[in-house]
């Protein structure tokens, strides 16, 4: 159990810059989820913390100690791999005990720790089995057990749930969260799945092209995304974006598609009249009604209690709406934009524009 700090961690593979300086402070016992599309550098960041990759520059500090020059084994971290990396010729017990044996712990201590971890994970009956005799979910538990018995300062999860089927994934997700809270071990969890990220993390790090686009709690990221990338990445279906311009005085935005003026509910934005903006509105915030956007609905996806409608505006821009009820038809539909749910971004930089105090 320890804190973790990353200071301006950069990584380049040859001429390719993968990480452009990431800073992160993790409190003791906190669960941080690093989320992003493939190739954003999230796994590289995790591997730098583990010591499996060397950062080009920057520092990794675990529990107040600079571990940047240390080998993975000397950092006192445990890692759960995507494909579990269980040794196929060793029994479950031996797999879990391996790291402890190398560290030269007494036999009784090893047996006790493995037994405790196995009971915690509900795999005590499987200790004599070989990994190939286990199901995917059981292998996942063994991989977790191997990390737990080490009693490390830091848990590192590298997309551990992506090899499981959907149902098991939801179940293991909850279990990992429960275990992590119970053990209180500081954890880093890498995933590309935004639902996993939202449900697991105390805080999220949304990675984009080697930068940490936003570091905040899940709800804050959902409610106040820092830029259009984060806004579009977190939330399903993805947020709708509409080009607009700022009106005189900065109190409202004028939609480019139909000239509709949308006053800001929370106060004026800085800038000249005509400043180019991107407005964001989540599909679930759109409501049917007249006087907003006129959609031509092309596809209806009923989800039971609600439906996802895929439509287009007159100028061809796609719009997704999530509306209650299952009785929706394809064809023309009017939706209104609730002003309190409007997100305002700068069109050039994509950064969020907040109301002036």
């Amino acid at each position: 159990m320890a804190t973790l700090a990353l200071e301006d961690v950069k990584k380049a593979f040859g001429a390719t810059q993968v990480l452009h300086g990431v800073d992160l402070e993790v409190a003791d016992g906190e669960m941080i989820v690093i989320v992003g599309a493939s190739g954003c550098g999230k796994s590289t960041l995790l591997r730098i913390v583990a010591g499996l990759e060397t950062a080009t520059s920057g520092r990794v500090i675990i529990g107040g100690q600079d571990v940047t020059p240390l080998e993975p084994a000397d950092r006192d971290v445990a890692m759960v791999f995507q494909n579990y990396a269980l040794y196929p010729h060793m029994s479950v017990f031996d797999n879990m005990a391996y790291g402890l044996r190398i560290r030269g712990l007494p036999r009784e201590v090893i047996a006790r720790r493995v037994q405790e971890a196995a009971e915690l994970l509900g795999i005590a009956a499987l200790l004599e089995r070989k990994p190939r005799q286990l199901s995917g979910g059981q292998r996942q538990r063994v991989a977790m057990g191997r990390a737990i018995v080490r009693e490390p300062k830091l848990f590192l999860f590298d997309e551990p749930l992506s090899n499981l089927d959907a149902k098991l994934r939801v179940q293991m997700r909850a279990e990992i969260r429960r275990l992590q809270k119970r053990l209180g071990v500081t954890s880093l969890f890498v995933t590309h799945d935004q639902v996993e990220a939202m449900t697991l993390g105390d805080r999220l790090v949304v990675m984009h092209q080697g930068h940490a686009a936003q570091i905040a709690t899940p709800m804050e990221i959902w409610e106040r995304p820092a830029d259009t990338y984060v806004a579009g990445f977190i939330g399903s279906p993805a947020m709708n974006f509409l080009p607009a311009t700022l009106t005189a005085g900065g109190t409202a935005a004028r939609l480019e598609t139909n000239g509709l003026v949308l006053p800001f509910a929370d106060g004026p934005r800085a800038g000249e009249e005509g400043r180019r903006l991107t407005l964001g509105i989540r599909p679930e915030h759109l409501r049917p009604g007249i006087g907003g956007l006129d959609l031509q609905v092309e596809l209806v996806e009923p989800l039971g209690g609600e439906s996802v409608l895929h439509g287009r505006l007159a100028d061809g821009a796609p719009i997704t709406a999530k509306l209650p009820g299952a009785l929706h038809a394809e064809g023309p539909l009017g939706v209104i934009i609730p002003l309190e749910h409007l997100h305002v971004f700068d069109a050039e930089t994509g950064k969020r524009l907040d109301a002036q105090a």
Binding site: E71, P72, F81, Y84, A85, H89, G99, R146, R150
Partner: protein, 300 residues
Amino acid sequence: MPGPMSLQAPDVDALARRTRARQRREALLTHASLVVGVLIFAFPIYLTLIGSTHDVNTIGRGDVPLLPGGEAMANYSQAWSAGGGRYMGVPAAGMLLNSLVMALLITLGKIAISLTSAYAVVFFRFPFRMLAFWLIFITLMLPVEVRIIPTFQVMVDLKLTNSMAGLTVPLIASATATLLFRQFFLTIPDEYVEAAKIDGAGPLRFFKDVVLPLSVTNIAALFVILFIYGWNQYLWPLLIVNDRSLETIVVGLTKMIGGGDAQNEWNVIMATAVFALLPPVAVVVLMQRWFVKGLTETEK
């Protein structure tokens, strides 16, 4: 139900009969061709076995007996403890031991060297790694026979002629086995290495605890192939060893056959040939399960 379905229904029995008849014909044909194949391979060995049970004059007359004679004990005990043929006096027991030691040294040496060199090439990053690999690889193109004169010169300079070391060392360096282990090691997931690094296992520990156990079936398959390769060596032992106490059974066997100026003791020669057959056969039979597993296993 009317229509084509109901018309076809009565034909099912006939169709099933036809299928059974075809399956029987096919089974007969495959077995017949297998039996012919087995006979072609087994007949010379049968002749050798029968020949080793007759006295020296039966074969000397030019007869090829097809039924066992009564001299088996005498022939085998002469071959085992006294030898026979042109030079007389090199018993099969000693030659078998020489062959066994040579084959085992070659096999174990090859496996040890190729395991470690493949491990280095696959799991470590060092300067000229690929150069080292390609240097090993191109020796594939230089079999013992091609480099036999320079190798002999080296052994003479090292004063290793007429020694077990001289007999085995030049045959040990092996590109084939290195290549095979390299290909296998490449299939070991990177995560095993990384998990071991985080667990704190050093390179030797990882080799011993993970790589070796995973390679067991491959090692067993190679053991069979290499043991037979070593056992059958002829040209190099013929060249490097003059001392008859170091003679191997394959070389000794050919030396028993004369140049035509005297009658060959075919009964003893054949008994010796049977002795020479037994160890490779034993290795194959004992290791067959592992051997097949090593060639076909895809578990992981």
